[in-house]
Amino acid sequence: MALDTSKNSYTIIFAVIMVVVVGTALAGLSNGLKPLVEANQRAEKMQNILYTLGFNENEGESDVRKISTDVVEEEFNKYIKAQYYIQDGELIEDDEAYLISLPKEENKLRRDSEYKRRLPLIVAEKEGEDVYVIPLLGSGLWDAIWGFIALDKEMVVQGVYFGHDGETPGLGAEISQRYFMDPFEGEHLLDENGRFMGVEVTKGNQDPRNARKKDHKVDAIAGSTITGDGVTAMIKNTLRMYLPYFKSLKE
C-alpha cells in the first residue's frame, strides 16, 4: 500500500509525532548537560568577580582575559573572605551569595511588592584591605546589561566588569572593552560631604585622560548614548540600595 503523504490527516499526525520526538530528545539532552553548563556559568561568575578585583591574565593594552577556569575556584576561595546578602537591612552570611540571580529577585519584587529583595555582597581581601564586590543589573538599548563593581569602604571604585546580552556590536557592546571599563577605576562615588553621586557616563569630555577621579564622570562611547545612560542608571540604582550598609561600615 502506497502511503498517501498529501492527505491532511497524515500531515497532522506526522507533524505531531515529529514535534513530540524532537521535543523529548532535546529536553533529555538539555537535562543531561545541565550540570556541566551550570558549572561553567558558576566559573564565569567567579572569573568576573576576580576580574573586578584586578586578578586577570591581561597582557596587552586592550585584552580582557579572565583568569583561567582551571584555577578560578582555588583563587576565588583564596581571595574571597565572606559572602553575604542583605535582606531588609539585615546582613546574612551565605556561601553561595554570588549565585543569587538578580533578574529573579527583581521578578519576585515585581510580583509581590512586599518582598524584600536579597542584595548580594561579596567581601574580598586585597593587599590587606577589605574590598566589596557588588553585582549590577540594568538595561541597555536592546536587552539587559550587567556587571560587577568592586568598591573599598569609602566607595571608591577598585574595578568594574560589564557584560551585556545583546547590545549593538561596535557601539553599545563596547562597554565590555578595556578603554571603557578601565577609567572607572579610582572614581569616587561619594562627594566630599558623603552624598551619593554615582558615576555618570557622559559626553562633552573635559577630561580625556580621566585624571579627575572626584568628578563622578567617565567618558562615554560615541554612538551608544542609551547603553551609556543604562550603565549610569545601573550603578546608581543598584548601589543606592547598599548605602545603609556602607554607612554602617563607617561607624
Binding site: 503523504t5 556541566l36 596587552g60
Partner: protein, 215 residues
Amino acid sequence: MRLLSKRDANLILDPLADNNPITVQVLGICSALAVTAQLKPSIVMAVAVMFVMGMGNIVISLLRNLIPPKIRIIAQLIVVATLVIIVDQVLKAYAYELSNQLSVFIGLIITNCIIMGRFEAFALGNGPWESFLDGIGNAAGYGIILIIVGTLRELFGSGTLLGFEVFGSAVEGTGLYALGYENNGFMVLPPMALIVVGLIIWVQRFYNKELHEDN
C-alpha cells in the same frame, strides 16, 4: 575496489572548488563574515556546520518518502533547528568560552541557506549515503573558505594563529615588530572579510574559465 565510486567522490569534491557554496553559489556569506576574525571560531563553525549538514541530510533523506509535501519546509526547519540546538548545548557544556565567542552565530546556522538548499535540492531526492556525502562535501566547501579567511584575518590582523604569536610579540616589540611591522587593524573588522572573500572569488575565476558567465 575503490572506497567511493566516481559519482560519490564528485559529491564531495565538487563543492570544494568548482561548485563551492560560498565563492560560486554565494550562499552563507553572513556567517562567513561574522566569525572569521580569528581562526579558532572559524574552525569550530566549520565543524558545527559539517555536523549539522551531514546529519541533517541523512535524516531528511531517510524521511524523504514520509515527509508530507505540504509541510516540507517546516519539517526541514525542525531537523536543522534540532541539530543546531544539540551543537549549541554541547558547546555550552564543553567549550563555554568558545560558545560565548560564537554567541548568536551557532543559532544562526539555522538560517544558513546552504543547509536548507542542500536539504531541498539534494536530500529530498537521493539516498542517505549520497546525501551524507553531499552534506559533508558542501560543509567542507563552506568550511575551507572560512578557514582560509580566518587564517588571513587573524594572521594579518592580530599577528597570531590560534593565539600563537607568529610574528613575535606586538606588546614587547620582538620579531617582525622590532623591524617596524604593524598589525592591520582593518583585517579584524567585518568589511575586510567581504574583501577577502571577494579576492578569493577573483583568484578562483581567474584560473577557472568555466565559471565565467557569457555576455
